[in-house]
Symmetry: C3
C-alpha cells in the first residue's frame, strides 16, 4: 500500500534471516575531517598520513570507530526503527583497515530471537558485517536490541539466545598485515608510554571534559546515515518526559574515546569491541568526562594490545573513577561502560 518503510517489528524477524542494508557508503577525507571536528581525536596514526606510512600503512586508516558508525548506521532502518532500546554489543572485530575512497556495505544475519514475557517486545540479536568494495569484511560485530511487536498475539516460530564471548580472544584480533611499529615516534605520538608501561588493573583519569551540542550530535549521526528518530525528531521528542532528543550512543563512545588520548596517546588503533552498554541517556549540553581501566594485555608480535574498559560520565569529573557498586548499580552520572581492544607500540 504505502511506499514508506515501516521498519521491522519483532515478529517480522526469523532466525537465520539475512538483511542486505541499503545505502552503500564511500568514506572520504571529508568524513574523516568531520569526525575530527566532532571528536577532537588526536591519535597520530589516524591524523597523519606520514605517521601511518612510517608504520607500514599506505596512509591514515579511517578511525575504526568511524567505520563502526558507518556500518551501524545502515542497519537502523531494517533492525532498530521500532526498537525500544539498544541493549548491547559483543564480539566486534575490525578485520581490514578502511581507507578514504573505500566503499562499505552492511549485511546483518539474525542470530537470536527471544520474546519478552510481556509479549509486547522481544530481543533481536544480529551479527552485522561491514565489507569493502572488494568484498573483504572490514568489521563484524553482534548487537542486540529490544524491538516492539506490531501484533502482540503474533508468534515467532523459532527462538534462541546466542552464546556470545565475554571478550574477543587476543588470538582473534587482526593487526593490519603491513603494520610495523619499529620506527614509531613516541614524541609525535604524544607520550612515551609504550605497551610495556601499562599494567592490568591500572586506572587512568582522562581529566579533560567535552560538551556536545545538539547540532554536533545531529550532524554526526546524519553523517553516519543513522536514521533513528529519537536523535532528530524534536517535535516528537517534546512529548517524552525528558522533552529532549536522545544523543546516539556512538557519539558518546567516540567522544570518550577521543578524551582517552590523554593517557592512552599511542593506543590509536582499535582492534576489537568486547562489549558496551549505554548505562544512562546523554542529552546535548552535558560535559562528557572519561576514565579507563586496563583489563588485559596481549602481545601480538608487531604490537601489543590493551584490553581497556572505557567509562564515561556526564557533568562529573573522573578523578575518583565513578563506577558501579557491589550490586552492579551505576551512579546516575555514568553514561557508558565500554570494553575494547587497542593496539599499542612496544618499546
Amino acid at each position: 500500500m504505502t511506499k514508506t518503510n515501516p521498519g521491522n517489528y519483532f515478529e517480522d524477524f526469523r532466525l537465520g534471516q539475512v538483511l542486505r542494508h541499503a545505502t552503500p557508503r564511500t568514506i572520504t577525507g571529508g568524513d574523516v575531517a568531520l569526525y575530527t571536528a566532532f571528536t577532537g581525536s588526536r591519535f597520530a596514526l589516524t591524523s597523519s598520513d606520514e605517521t601511518a606510512r612510517a608504520a607500514g600503512l599506505p596512509r591514515s586508516p579511517v578511525d575504526p570507530l568511524l567505520v563502526f558508525h558507518m556500518v551501524f548506521g545502515k542497519t537502523v532502518p531494517d533492525i532498530s526503527l521500532n526498537a525500544v532500546a539498544n541493549l548491547g554489543y559483543a564480539d566486534g572485530k575490525f578485520l581490514t583497515p578502511v581507507y578514504p575512497g573505500d566503499t562499505v556495505t552492511s549485511v546483518s544475519e539474525v542470530i537470536g530471537l527471544k520474546e519478552n514475557s510481556n509479549r509486547k517486545t522481544g530481543v533481536v540479536y544480529v551479527r552485522t558485517t561491514g565489507s569493502n568494495q572488494h568484498g573483504a569484511p572490514v568489521l563484524s560485530y553482534v548487537r542486540w536490541v529490544m524491538v516492539r511487536k506490531n501484533d502482540e498475539a503474533a508468534n515467532v516460530p523459532e527462538e534462541t539466545t546466542p552464546a556470545l564471548p565475554s571478550a574477543v580472544a587476543a588470538s582473534d584480533l587482526h593487526l593490519p598485515p603491513a603494520l610495523m611499529f619499529k620506527d614509531y615516534d613516541f614524541v609525535r605520538g604524544g607520550s612515551a608510554h609504550a605497551f610495556e608501561d601499562y599494567e592490568v588493573g591500572e586506572k587512568i583519569d582522562h581529566v579533560d571534559g567535552m560538551a556536545i551540542e545538539e547540532a554536533e550530535h545531529a550532524m554526526a549521526t546524519r553523517l553516519y546515515q543513522n536514521t533513528a528518530k529519537v536523535h532528530f525528531n524534536a517535535f516528537e521528542r517534546a512529548k517524552d518526559p525528558s522533552g529532549r532528543r536522545l544523543v546516539y550512543g556512538g557519539v558518546v563512545i567516540s567522544t570518550a574515546r577521543a578524551l582517552s588520548f590523554n593517557g592512552l596517546e599511542n593506543a590509536g588503533l582499535m582492534l576489537g569491541i568486547n562489549g558496551g552498554r549505554h548505562v544512562n541517556p546523554y542529552f546535548a549540553g552535558g560535559t562528557i568526562f572519561a576514565w579507563s581501566e586496563v583489563l588485559d594485555k596481549a602481545d601480538l608480535g608487531e604490537a601489543g594490545a590493551l584490553r581497556l574498559r572505557l567509562v564515561a560520565t556526564r557533568d562529573r569529573p573522573c578523578h575518583d573513577f565513578p563506577d558501579r557498586d557491589a550490586e552492579g548499580k551505576y551512579p546516575a552520572e555514568v553514561i557508558l561502560d565500554f570494553d575494547y581492544w587497542a593496539a599499542v607500540p612496544k618499546r
Copy 2:
C-alpha cells in the same frame, strides 16, 4: 568612495545585463561529506562511488541540489543583497553532472524587470547558469526576487516580464549520457520501488522529522558562500518582529528532499526544478516533515522520470498531507511547495 559592495538596487539592473559572479568554487569530497552531515541524505547514487560506477558514471556525482546551492550562493552579492523576498524559481535544468574536483562558476542574465506600483521595489528576473571548468553548463534556472529601490524616483528604462514554463518539458531533461540502470541494485537502493510502481496522483508521507539547529543552517549556508545577511546577522535580526535569523530556503529544500528518501529511495538523481515557493519562513529548532505527490511521469529511455511535488511543514507530521485550500491558501505550518523532476530506474 567606499570599497564595500553595496549590492545592486532595482534601478541598477538593465534588461539583458550579464553579471559574472565572484568566487569560482571547486566542489570537493569535503563539501559532499558536509552535505550528508547537514541533510542525512541516503540516496545510493550520491552516497557510493560503487553504486555510481555500476550505473555507468565515473563516481558519485555531487548531489544536484548541492550544485544548485553552490551556484545560487554566488549570485547573492549581485542579485539579492537588497532583496525583500525571494519569490520563485522556474525552468531549472541540471545539464551536466558535477564531480568532486570540478570548479563551478555562475553567470546571470537579467531577463525581466517589473517595478511595483508602490515604486519602492521591483521584481528582477534572472536566468543563472552554472558552468564547470571546461565551460560546460551544469545548471540553468530562472529565479525572481523583489529588490528594493535606492531612489524611489529612479526609472528603469525598459521593463518586461518573461514567459516561463510551468514545468520543464520531459524532452528537455538531461540524463547523464553514460547512465545505465540495467544492473541497478534495488535492495542497496533502499526499496523495490521502480519507475513503474509510481502513479500520477499518488501521495507519499515521508514520516520522518528532522530538526535543524542555528549552527547547522548557518554552516550550510556559509559552505554555499551565500552571503544574505538575514541568515547570519543575529544582531540585526534581533530588531525583526521574529527576533530570529531566517533559515536559507535551500536548507529547507535539501532537508525535505533527504526526508523524501523514505518512499522515493531510488529517485536520487534530480533532473530539473519546475518551480518552488517558500510559503512560510522557517526558523531553527523547528522539526521539518514532508510529503510528496507524483505529478507526472515520463519515460526517458534508460530511466524513468517522476515529476514530484515536495511539500514541507514545520512541527506538523504529514500523514494527512497538509496542503493549500481551494483559495490557494496554505496552512501556517506549510513552509515549502517545491516541484521537480527526478530520474528513477525502470524495472
Copy 3:
C-alpha cells in the same frame, strides 16, 4: 605516576628548550570544506583550484589562517595547558604554501621567560615553526602566554625577554615562488580593487555581521586539535563568573578575516602576522563585525602587499570604526586588534 599529561608550568620551561609537539596533521580537502563552513570565506584563490592555477599555483593553497590554527593547536598541550592568558603574537611568516594532502608538524623553542612580580605566574615566549612532510617550514611565529606556576617558590634559572619586531619587514615576506597575477580575473575575484587602489590610512567598514554558535566554534577548535579546556569543558566553565565557554581567539580572527572580503576581495593570500591581541573575550551567540585600516603598502614585484589592521567587534556595527582611545583603552565591544600582511594583485 599518572599517565595523564599535566601540561607544563612556568617553572618547567627553560630558555632554549625545544618542544616537538604531538599529532602530525594531514590537512585535507575535508578540512578546507569545514573551514569554509565555519567562516564563509569567499577569496577566489583559496576557493577555486582554477583561479589558483591561473595564478601559477598547482591548486588552491590551504588558507594560511587554517594552517596557522593547525600548527597552533598542536602547541597547546605543551605550551598553554596551564595558561592564564594568551598575550600576543608577533613575527609570523607564511613561508611555503600548504596544499591538501600535506602533513604539518609543529616545533616550539622557548625564546623568552619572565616571571611576574607576584611569583604566581610568568610569561613564556615561544617561536613555533610548522613544517611540511618534506621538512620545509610553512609557518614561523612568536607567541607569548602567561602561564601559572605549580610551585610559587620555584625559580627559573635564566630569564630574558626577546626583542620582537613591531611588524614583519616587507623584505621578509614570501610570495609563493610560482605566483603570477598577470591574468588575474578581478571580476571573479569579487571587485576591481587592485593594489594601486588602496591608500595608507584608508579605513574600510566590512558591513556584514556573523554570529557564531557554540557548536561552530567547538567544532572548529576540535578540528584544529586545540585542546584548551576553556573552549570545551562547559561543566568547569559554569563556575566562571561568565558561566560561559570561551571561544578560541583564532575563531574570531578567521571570522573577521572572512568578513573583510567585503572591501578586500582580492587580498586573499595572507603573508605575515605582525601582531594580534584579543582585547576582550568573545562568547558564542554574539554577532561579529569588523573593519580594516591600511597601515602600509609594499611592492613585492609579482604582487603588492598590504599591511592591514583588522579590528573586530561583537554586537556593534563598524561604520564608525570603533577603536582604542588616546590612552589605548578599547571600547568594550572591541574583541580583536590584529595586524597582518596580505598579497594583492597589481593592475
